[in-house]
């Protein structure tokens, strides 16, 4: 796989930081959602953003899927867009997870709420590891009921060159629930992240 110019050390460092961020997130989420949360060690890959649509198209083919996008930006030129993908057959599980009652909130609001919680909890942990802090835009839902996820992803990500793909599988003991998270990061931000990784590596 194309490492997009990351050295082996930089990659290892990033993987380690993401693992720690995931650990922090799963701990917080478990407490907040009041259930045990098992998180698989995420698979992390840096890929060209152009390969993303096709990959997810096959995974979400023939299902009603939703895509929630949320922008983030921090100090030292760290910025990007987090995309969370769901199968809508999972959506009814979310309301139970968040403690909403039927008819309380719209499906879209449940999706933005859970996405924002998953995304910002993870990214806050990541920012903490990078000695950074992040601000977020409001999450937005793009839904697809005809499996045209690939088209939506293309429209979302065409101007992003690189993507940090973090596949997260959340397994909750009381509810089985899955989603995928992708962080899309523009080229300048990738090189800014490299600079930050180098500084962290020097400190060790």
């Amino acid at each position: 796989m194309n490492n997009l110019g990351f050295s082996e050390e930089q990659r290892d460092c990033l993987q380690e930081i993401i693992n720690v961020a995931m650990g922090l997130a799963s701990d917080k989420l478990a407490r907040f959602l009041n259930t045990f949360v098992h998180l698989r060690v995420p698979s992390i890959a840096l890929v060209g953003a152009s390969v993303i649509p096709a990959e997810f198209e096959s995974r979400y083919r023939d299902t009603e899927a939703a895509l929630v996008s949320q922008g983030f930006f921090g100090n030292e030129g760290v910025r990007g867009e987090a995309i969370v993908l769901y199968q809508m057959t999972n959506a009814h599980k979310i309301s139970a997870l968040l403690g909403y009652e039927a008819g309380d909130v719209s499906e879209i609001e449940m999706l933005t709420d859970i996405s924002s919680i998953l995304t910002t909890t993870f990214l806050n942990g990541l920012a903490q590891q990078l000695e950074n802090s992040l601000s977020y835009s409001a999450p937005r839902v793009l839904s697809s009921n005809n499996g045209d996820l690939s088209g939506m992803l293309k429209n979302t990500s065409f101007h992003w060159e690189h993507a940090l793909k973090v596949d997260i599988s959340y397994q909750l003991v009381d509810h089985s629930f899955n989603c995928d998270m992708i962080l899309l990061i523009p080229a300048e931000a990738v090189s800014n992240i490299k600079t930050i990784l180098d500084r962290i590596l020097e400190d060790f």
């Binding site: 968040l98 609001e109 977020y136």
Partner: protein
């Protein structure tokens, strides 16, 4: 050098609401935007509960959002698209907007305040009325466009493309549920003579007038469309041949008796109508059903016009044609 002194004048001028509460929902701060919109003074509400000062708030819903901010130290969001407003404020365009209350995007942010023991939350309220109004215009325009896309420009009945789509769907439905389905095709008799006598404006007037008149004779579920020129079609769902013939006779007689006034002249018109019932064996494509009704229509013309003819199964081609 600290710029803390700037915060206060900026907060006073800011065209967004800034409200700070603690984990027991007590109000610590509200900027001028909130004071002015709510008609309150900070001094009077400081230390009071958010939910007692703003009694209209969706309390259970908001508490859940605030809980995630406190527990996870992450921001929470609310969009006007899901919930038009949280705080019931009047907006700043009372004259140019149809909405009564300010549409709001709200962000609930955990505040990092190490000097305080109690965690604080900042609620930011942005006026999204403009976006709300644009969205309403857009929805209205889209629904008008959608309508225009199905309508015949002159007569306002369904256009041919949309009408044929409907026919395909009705055939599909009739096949699936074994319901009867009939089709009428009709044509204005001697339309060319009308055009010659009253001019094209007169001809157009007759088309518009009759389309609207015939539309008023139909059930809501019947689908009247302009097939081309002076030829129209009516899809009659859930209607067997006998019922379709009755409808056709009624239209034929009503039109013959209908007087139209154009430029102080009384115009009379008549129709020839072909009737066909859908039969799954005979009509594979929707075109086959149209063709059956068209054959019956030509027979009605040939038999002397101003009448209804029924398609006879087994007749597969046009007899000698007539106008």
């Amino acid at each position: 050098m600290s710029h803390a002194w700037l915060s206060s004048p900026i907060l006073a001028q800011l065209n967004s609401g800034v409200l700070v509460i603690d984990d027991e929902y007590q109000i610590h701060y509200a900027n001028s935007f909130i004071e002015r919109h709510a008609g309150l003074q900070l001094a009077d509400i400081q230390g009071k509960s958010l939910f007692s000062v703003f009694a209209d708030l969706p309390e259970a819903w908001l508490k859940r959002k605030l809980m995630s901010v406190l527990d996870l130290k992450t921001p929470a969001f609310s969009s006007w698209e899901q919930r038009q407003y949280i705080f019931k404020f009047a907006h700043l365009r009372p004259m140019t907007s149809s909405s009564q209350y300010m549409a709001q995007n709200c962000t609930m942010l955990p505040l990092d305040t190490p000097q305080l023991e109690q965690p604080l939350i900042c609620i930011l309220i942005e006026d999204a009325t403009d976006a709300f109004v644009y969205q309403q215009h857009l929805s209205k325009t889209l629904s008008e466009l959608e309508k225009a896309n199905r309508q015949d420009g002159l007569t306002k009945v369904l256009n041919r493309r949309f009408w044929e789509e409907q026919l395909k769907q009705e055939i599909h439905r009739a096949q699936r549920y074994h319901h009867p389905l009939s089709l009428l095709l009709f044509d204005l008799d001697k339309f060319k003579d009308l055009n010659d006598k009253y001019g094209h404006l007169g001809g157009d007037f007759v088309l518009v007038e009759l389309a609207s008149f015939i539309g008023s004779l139909l059930r809501d579920s019947d689908l009247l469309g302009r097939y081309g020129g002076e030829e129209f079609g009516i899809i009659l769902p859930d209607t067997p041949l006998s019922g379709a013939v009755e409808v056709a006779q009624r239209i034929c007689h009503a039109v013959a008796d209908h007087l139209m006034l154009f430029n102080q002249q009384t115009i009379r018109a008549s129709l020839s109508i072909g009737v066909a019932e859908f039969s799954p064996k005979q009509h594979v494509l929707h075109d086959d059903l149209i063709r059956s009704a068209d054959i019956a229509l030509y027979n009605a013309k040939r038999a002397g016009r101003n009448r209804v003819c029924i398609f006879q199964p087994g007749v597969s081609d046009y007899q000698k044609k007539a106008n």
